[in-house]
Amino acid sequence: MRSRVLATGHEPASGGLTLADIQRGQRARVIGYDENVEPSAARRLFDLGLFPGVEVTMVRRAPLRDPVIFRVGDYEIALRGVQSRSIHVEVVS
């Protein structure tokens, strides 16, 4: 349909924390996406509610380590490592 510009939030420092790094029960705030993320994929992450500023909680890992379930706002979603590694976060204490 129409293409839209994406707000990616402020650029994270390289080597920063990603969603893949947070532990079970830990909360984190999304600060932006990796620069390698395709615009269409970034747009989808946004539409899934994973936009900059939102708080995410790590719920549990699959027995084979991947994928991982996160609670985003009001629902739960499973993401593979490929996706969670591309989402930059900061830990919320």
């Binding site: 349909m1 707000a7 395709e38 269409s40 994929a41 989808r44 992450l45 991947d66 985003v72 993401l79």
Partner: protein
């Protein structure tokens, strides 16, 4: 509702034209399909959108005494920026500028919003409002919201959105009556004064303002779901539960369906016998009882499996367990480039590829669906079993051992294992090919709260799947059966001719063997001999392969008939002692080890099943994919059978 619901050759079904069309739009788990089923009941039809592997669900519903409207269930989507063929369909259907003329634009949208995930769902609503189509919001799961102590003031919510809002909980009658009333007054639907924004930077602000204005209170974490998840997704207990569930699933399709299929078969056998007894014109009697009634029987024999499969899938999906099973299996299936949900389809294919291919409907991505469909026919289905048993028993004596194990058992296990590995590899390959060039699609899977499945939903889904199978596949399977019957039984032989050839006309086995040996099928078998010669097959095996297109297990019966021609008293012995009749290898035992190995491998890979071809045609929406599947599997079967023959010949 008297019009013909089946469309033209493209499989595009369009219901009566001239009726008002409503499209049900929403994200997965928003109660979209429940609403659709509740509105249309058993008046739903499935088809395919032109040229894509995306199933189309359409049905009619009555709004009052006189008004009937069309309702279309669009694929679930989180966004109108499509990243998959399914989502592209949603965009095409809702495109009021009409860039894709092969789909009908609806007159209005019913947008399902899950009251417990409003923050995310309103973003989709904002995008949908850009289409300019009249919109009615159907608010679902408000019971869940209340149970989890969330709050939403619906009158303020309606004012904030500026469009009609109707609450329908789980397709409940009262909500539906309200919805039907609103739908019948499409002219009076309000539109928002200012369209909601779509720029990501502004959307979140708009969503916040709507939710603030309607006193939205986020529901608490669903405690029930969490308690169940801590068991069901536990690394050890969860894995055991998963394996038990899948075992029960497989057993139901494999074992529970078998006696039901037996009843269907005996019923049609009895019916055929009845016709044979009462029709006294020889050829007509045989044609009616074997080709027509036998053909209808061979279609209906799939119904118990399909119905059971869809009961199970509707239950797994309705409770929310399917998403958990997919979560547990995702890592394994990711190796084949697929996602966890493809596991259920591949598992079903062990029973039969028909339900397996139909089970791919539960996969949200068209590319995954296609890849799984291409791999599924390689799974060792139950029709291959009698063929394998016959060939393996010809190959090895019953007391042969491989180490500690019975050699026949080892070969059977190897056949199952290679079938499964080949299916995974093929699916991976097709996924690579179809995904080539496109951007890397993100993987995500919502974990919906657990629910009690709605029986209405289960019934609708079983009905829709089974009736669609019967409508779309019967003609193809019936036509194949009739053509094969004609090939195997014509030209007719007179009694005097058979007597002259020395056939005992009182012996039914000898007669049918004579007919088959001099049939058109025999001519075809001889004509294709150069193709199968390198594999060691002669024209008699070729007849068997040709007849097995109706169903693989027919191969066993046909070989039995052919063998009966040699020695009607002891066909099994005759099979063992059969020799090649002509050509450079004349005199060689026909079923020697290299030939049997080649046949086993051929049956493992070749798409010797026209019913599978018919279902592939139905589910993929075009003849292209069944043609691709038939060709690649034939080439694979031939090449690997040749390799098997060469290797075994070198070893023996």
């Amino acid at each position: 509702m008297t019009a013909d619901h089946c469309g033209g050759a493209g499989g595009v079904s369009t219901l009566e034209t001239g009726l008002t069309r409503f499209a049900v739009v929403g994200s997965p788990n928003s109660g979209k399909t429940t609403l659709f089923n509740a509105l249309t009941g058993l008046h739903a039809k499935t088809g395919n959108y032109p040229g894509v592997t995306v199933a189309r669900y359409e049905g009619t519903t009555r709004l009052g005494e006189h008004e009937t409207v069309v309702v279309e269930d669009l694929p679930g989507t989180y966004s109108l920026d499509p990243i998959s063929p399914d989502e592209q369909i949603v965009v095409d259907v809702l495109d009021t500028d009409h860039h894709n003329e092969r789909v009908d634009v609806p007159d209005a949208m019913l947008v399902t919003l899950n009251a417990t995930t409003l923050r995310r769902s309103l973003g989709l609503l904002a995008q949908l409002q850009q289409t300019g189509l009249p919109t009615c919001v159907v608010l679902t799961f408000t019971d869940d919201l209340a149970r989890r102590n969330g709050k939403l003031d619906i009158p303020s919510f309606t004012r904030a959105l500026g469009v009609p809002v109707v609450t329908v909980v789980a397709g409940h009658r009262d909500g539906l009556a309200d919805l039907r009333h609103v739908m019948s007054r499409l002219d009076s639907w309000t539109q928002p004064v200012v369209s909601p924004p779509t720029d990501p930077a502004e959307v979140t602000g708009w969503v916040d303002s709507v939710l603030d204005a309607s006193g939205y209170q986020l529901p608490e974490i669903d405690k029930r779901t969490h308690r169940i998840d801590s068991v069901v997704l536990h690394p050890v207990i969860g894995t055991v539960i998963f394996l038990l569930t899948m075992f029960a699933f497989f057993q139901t399709i494999f074992t529970v369906a078998a006696p039901l299929q037996g009843y269907v078969e005996s019923f049609f056998g009895w019916l055929g016998g009845l016709v044979a007894d009462h029709v006294h014109i020889g050829w007509l009697s045989a044609f009616l009882s074997q080709a027509v009634i036998g053909g209808v029987g061979s279609v209906l024999v799939f119904v118990p499996q399909i119905a059971l499969l869809f009961v199970l899938i509707a239950l797994l999906e309705g409770t929310g367990y399917l998403a958990r099973a997919a979560f547990l299996m995702d890592r394994v299936m990711a190796r084949a480039g697929l996602e966890g949900r493809a596991f259920v389809a591949l598992l079903s294919s062990f029973a039969c590829a028909i339900p397996g291919i139909m089970a791919t409907r539960s996969l949200p991505s068209a590319k995954d669906r296609l890849a799984t469909m291409m791999g599924a026919p390689l799974m060792t289905c139950s029709a291959r079993l009698p063929v394998y048993i016959l060939l393996v028993s010809l190959l090895l004596p019953g007391d042969a051992k491989v180490g500690w194990f019975n050699a026949r058992g080892v070969v059977m296990f190897a056949l199952y294992l290679f079938g499964a590995l080949s299916a995974m590899l093929t699916a991976a390959l097709f996924k690579k090919i179809t995904a080539r060039g496109g951007p890397m699609l993100p993987f995500y899977m919502e974990m919906p709260p657990y629910q009690v499945p709605r029986w209405r939903n289960v019934i609708s889904e079983v009905w829709t799947a089974t009736s669609a199978f019967l409508r779309k596949v019967t003609s193809i399977i019936l036509a194949t059966t009739v053509v094969l019957w004609v090939l195997l039984n014509l030209p007719m032989r007179s009694e005097s001719e058979m007597t002259a050839a020395g056939v005992d006309t009182g012996n039914a086995a000898a007669v049918s063997a004579y007919v088959i040996d001099h049939s058109y099928a025999a001519s075809v078998g001889k004509a294709v001999q150069p193709v199968f010669e390198p594999l060691g097959f002669d024209w008699r095996i070729n007849i068997g392969i040709l007849s097995s297109l109706a169903a693989r297990e027919v191969f066993v019966a046909t070989l039995g008939q052919v063998a009966a021609a040699e020695d009607p008293e002891q066909p099994a012995q005759a099979l063992r002692q059969m020799t090649v009749q002509d050509g450079p290898h004349a005199g060689r035992t026909l079923f020697d080890a290299p030939t049997i190995a080649a046949l086993l491998v051929f049956f493992m890979y070749a798409l010797q099943c026209m019913s599978t071809v018919a279902v592939l045609r139905r589910e993929s929406g075009s003849w292209k994919w069944p043609a691709v599947a038939f060709t690649y599997m034939f080439v694979l079967a031939w090449v690997l059978a040749f390799v098997a023959r060469t290797v075994v010949a070198a070893l023996v």
